[in-house]
Point group: C2
C-alpha cells in the first residue's frame, strides 16, 4: 500500500509546482507515465465501474421506449450525481417503441419425423406480429439474396429460411458478423419482393449453441411488411435437416410483437468542467439502450459504466482536467439512433467546441486499439505518439478506422475515436439472453476503462 | 467453398513448379501469405484441436504417476498414430508420485463466532499428510516472509497463515502471480525455520471466489517437513476476519496426502519428417501432466492439443515441411520437470540438430506474441520479420523473452520460443477445479494453434 500512495502523490506535486510555467518534455513524459500508471492501478484494484455494472445489469434489458429504459436513465443520472459530476442533465428525444409481446412460437408441421418440433426463436426487432392465430406456410431455404432471386418463382406464399452462417474462418468476428447480418436486416424486404409471407433467419452468432440472437430488421414503405424471426444455431441446423427429409413441411409462426407510438426518452449527459479550457469538450460515449433480452451487459451497459468510470477515475485520483470531459449515454442506438442524432443536432448548434469524442460499443473485452476516424495523418500520428502511455492499459495500436455509430453523428467534432477491444467472444453473446453481467471479465472491463481514461487525460492536457 | 479450394491448390502449384530453383522474394511472400491464411481459416473453421481437447479432457486430471496420466499418455500416442504422424514413440522416465488422498479438512475451533466453520482448502502439491487424527494449533497471519521473520518468536507450534493476495494492479497477471506465489512454494520451509507446525496459504488467484488453487510446494532436507494447504480467496478473508475477533482461535487440519515411490511414466513424441532436411528438428511442445483437480484444460491440455494440431494442419493442408516437425508432450512439468530433463539429455546426445523449440504453456487464450529466448538480435529480427504472416493469426509482437519451463531444458536447441497468449483470465482458473474444458474458447484456442503452425511453417521453410 505504501508504494501506491507514494506514486499517487508525485503527480500532484508536479501539477502544483510546474503548471505556472511550461514544463519540459521530459517532465511531461514522467507526469504522463505516472498518471497513466495510476489510472491502470486504480481501475484494476478498485473495480468501481465493474461493480457499478453489476448493479446496472440488475435493472434488466433496456430497449428504447420500455419502462426499464426509463429506470436505467434515472439510475445513470443518479449515479453521475452521486459521483460528484459538475453537471448532470437529461436531453429529451422521442424514440421508437417496439414490444416483443408474450407470444413467439415456431413449430414444424406436416413432417413425419419432426412434426410438432418447436424451434427456439426470437422475433427480430421491429417485426410486425402475425395474425392472432398465426401463419403456417411451406419453407424454402436459401443461403443468400442472390439464391432467393434465382428461386423467386418458388417464394410466393412461403416462409423464407435464410440459413447462411457467420464465416468463422475470418480473424475479425466483426467481418464474420458482416458476412451474414444482411439476412437479418434486409431479409424481410427481400422476401416481400417475391410475395413471401415471413422470414426465419439463422442467428448471426459465432457460438454453436441454440440461443437465438435478435437485432434490428427493416421494412420499406413500397413493400408489405412480413414477420421476421431468428432461430438458434442448432435449431437452424435442425430445420435444414428437416427440410431435406420433408421439403413440403410447414412452419407455423405465431408472434404478438408490435410497434407502439414513439415514446419520450432521454440521453443522459454529465460532465466535469475543464480548468483551463472549459468550452473544449471531450465526449466519452456509449449507448444506454439494449436489446430486450439478457442484461445488455457487453452491449452496451459495460460501455456506459466504463465512460462513467473514466470521469470517476479523474475524481478518485484528483486529476483536474484542463478541458471539459462529458459522458454522453445515448438512447436508441439499437433501433434508430435517435439519441445520437439529437445530440448531434445539439452539438452543431452549441457554441462550445467538440474537440474529440470517444465511443465504447464493442464489448468490454481486452483493450486492443483505438480507431481514429480522420483523414489527417497528423492527428493520427499525434494519438499514435501516445502509445507508450496507452500501452500501460494493454493498447497495441492506433490506426485510421471507424469510430462508432453514436458519436459519428457529432459531425462537427474535430476528432472521432472508437475504442477497440478484442472481438473473439463478442458475437457469442451479442443481442441474446447470453449477454449478461457474468460474461464480463472484471480485469478486461477495467483495462478498457483505463485505456479510455488515459486517452481522455492526454486529450485534456494536450488538446488537438 | 469453391473459393476455398482454389486458394488451397495454389501453394502446391508453387511448390511443384518452383522448388527446383530459388524462388524470388515476392513469390515467397505470396506463398507464405497464402499458406498462413489457409492455416488460420482451416483452424478456425474446422476446430479439430478444440474437438480433440474436449475428448482429452474427459480423461480427467493427469497428475504425474497417476493412472489418469497413463491413460492420457496412451490417448495422445494413439491420437498421433490416428492422425498419420510418420513416427510416434514413448520416452520412458521415472516421475514423482504424490497422491492427494481422500481427506483434506480445515476447521476453525475455539472461536465464539466461527467455531466449527470449515474452510475450503486443498493440500498443496507435495505436502506431507498430518497424523491420522490431524493437528490443531493457533494461527498467526502474516503477509510476507519478512513479517514472519519479525514475528518468529510467536511462530513455534503455530500454523502460519500466509495471506498476501495477488497484486491485481499489475497489467500482466504473470507478474501478479509472481507477486504472491512465493508463499505457496516456500511457505512451509519458512514456517519450519521457526518451528511452525503447518502452513495455510491464500490461493494465488486473480478471481475473488472461494475455489482453492493448488500448485507445487517445496521442502528442504535440512528442515522438518510440515503440512501445507491452500485456502479459497473468500475463506482466506473469513479466516483473517476470524483471527481479528479471536486471535486465540485454533485451526484443525487433517490431510492424508502422501508421496509414493517414483513411478514409471513417459514423454509422448511424434513427428512428420522433413522432405529436405529431415535431421533438422523443430520441436513444438507442451506438458501432458496437470494438477489433480479440474481437467487441466488450459494448463496444459490445450497446449498438448494445439501442438498436435500444428502437425495435423500440415497434413490437412497437404503442406510438406522441409524440416522435421516433432511434437513433444512432456510429462511432469508441474512437480519435477523430469520429462523435460529426460528429453533434454536425449537431445544433447542426439546427432540430429534441434533447430528450434516452441512451447505452449500459458493457456489457450487469444494470441498476443512470441517470446524469443536468445541473445542474438539477428535471430530475433528474423522471427520479427515474419510478423506480417503471424499477424494473420492475431500475433502482435515478437520480442526477447523467456520461452517455457519444458523446452528450456533443450539446451542445445538453436532457438527457444515461448508462445504468449493473453493472460487476463489465466490465473482465474489455474491449478484449480475451474480449469475445465468449458473455459477454453474455441476461436482463441484455434488462433493459438494457427499462430504456432505459421511459425513452424516458416521455420521449416527458411531454417535458421
Amino acid at each position: 500500500m505504501k508504494r501506491y500512495f507514494i506514486i499517487l502523490t508525485l503527480p500532484s506535486l508536479l501539477f502544483t509546482t510546474l503548471t505556472a510555467q511550461p514544463i519540459t518534455d521530459s517532465l511531461k513524459i514522467i507526469q504522463y507515465k505516472e498518471v497513466a500508471q495510476q489510472i491502470v492501478s486504480s481501475a484494476l484494484k478498485e473495480r468501481k465501474g465493474y461493480e457499478a455494472l453489476k448493479n446496472f445489469c440488475r435493472i434488466g434489458p433496456r430497449l428504447s421506449g420500455s419502462r426499464n429504459s426509463l429506470i436505467a436513465i434515472n439510475w445513470a443520472k443518479n449515479k453521475m450525481i452521486e459521483l460528484g459530476f459538475d453537471s448532470v442533465w437529461l436531453q429529451p428525444v422521442m424514440v421508437p417503441h417496439w414490444e416483443r409481446g408474450t407470444i413467439q412460437k415456431a413449430m414444424i408441421m406436416n413432417s413425419k419425423k419432426f412434426n410438432g418440433t418447436e424451434l427456439n426463436i426470437l422475433a427480430l426487432g421491429g417485426s410486425i406480429g402475425t395474425p392472432t392465430e398465426g401463419i403456417a406456410a411451406n419453407v424454402i431455404e436459401v443461403k443468400s439474396f442472390a439464391e432467393l432471386e434465382k428461386r423467386k418463382d418458388e417464394a410466393k406464399g412461403k416462409i423464407i429460411f435464410f440459413s447462411r452462417a457467420v464465416d468463422q474462418s475470418l480473424l475479425n468476428t466483426f467481418r464474420g458478423y458482416g458476412s451474414a447480418v444482411d439476412q437479418r436486416v434486409y431479409g424481410a424486404i427481400e422476401g416481400a419482393k417475391y410475395d413471401a409471407v415471413g422470414v426465419i433467419v439463422r442467428s448471426v452468432t459465432t457460438k454453436y449453441d441454440n440461443v437465438p440472437h435478435t437485432g434490428v430488421m427493416l421494412y420499406v414503405d413500397s413493400l408489405p411488411g412480413i414477420p421476421g424471426v431468428t432461430v438458434g444455431y442448432e435449431d437452424a441446423d435442425l430445420l435444414s435437416e428437416a427440410l431435406k427429409e420433408d421439403p413440403n413441411l410447414q412452419l407455423a409462426l405465431q408472434l404478438n410483437c408490435k410497434t407502439l407510438p414513439d415514446a419520450k426518452s432521454y440521453n443522459v449527459i454529465g460532465e466535469i468542467r475543464g480548468s483551463e479550457f472549459p468550452d473544449e469538450i471531450i465526449v466519452v460515449g456509449a449507448h444506454l439502450d439494449s436489446w430486450d433480452v439478457g442484461d445488455g451487459a457487453h452491449d452496451d451497459g459495460a460501455g456506459c459504466m466504463q465512460t462513467i468510470e473514466v470521469v470517476d477515475l479523474f475524481k478518485r485520483l484528483n486529476i483536474k482536467p484542463k478541458r471539459t470531459i462529458r459522458v454522453v449515454l445515448f438512447i436508441n442506438e439499437e433501433n434508430g439512433s435517435r439519441g445520437a442524432k439529437e445530440y448531434g443536432v445539439y452539438a452543431e448548434s452549441s457554441e462550445q467546441i467538440h474537440l474529440a469524442a470517444i465511443e465504447s460499443d464493442r464489448g468490454a473485452f481486452n483493450p486492443v486499439g483505438f480507431n481514429v476516424d480522420t483523414d489527417s495523418t497528423k492527428l493520427i500520428e499525434k494519438i499514435e505518439s501516445w502509445l507508450p502511455y496507452l500501452k500501460l492499459a494493454g493498447i497495441s495500436w492506433v490506426r485510421k478506422g471507424g469510430s462508432g455509430a453514436d458519436i459519428s453523428k457529432i459531425i462537427n467534432a474535430k476528432l472521432l475515436i472508437g475504442y477497440v477491444p478484442d472481438n473473439q467472444r463478442y458475437f457469442d453473446i451479442h443481442h441474446s439472453s447470453s449477454d449478461v453481467f457474468e460474461e464480463v471479465h472484471p480485469r478486461e472491463f477495467e483495462l478498457g476503462t483505463a485505456a479510455m481514461a488515459i486517452l481522455v487525460y492526454l486529450l485534456s492536457e494536450e488538446g488537438l
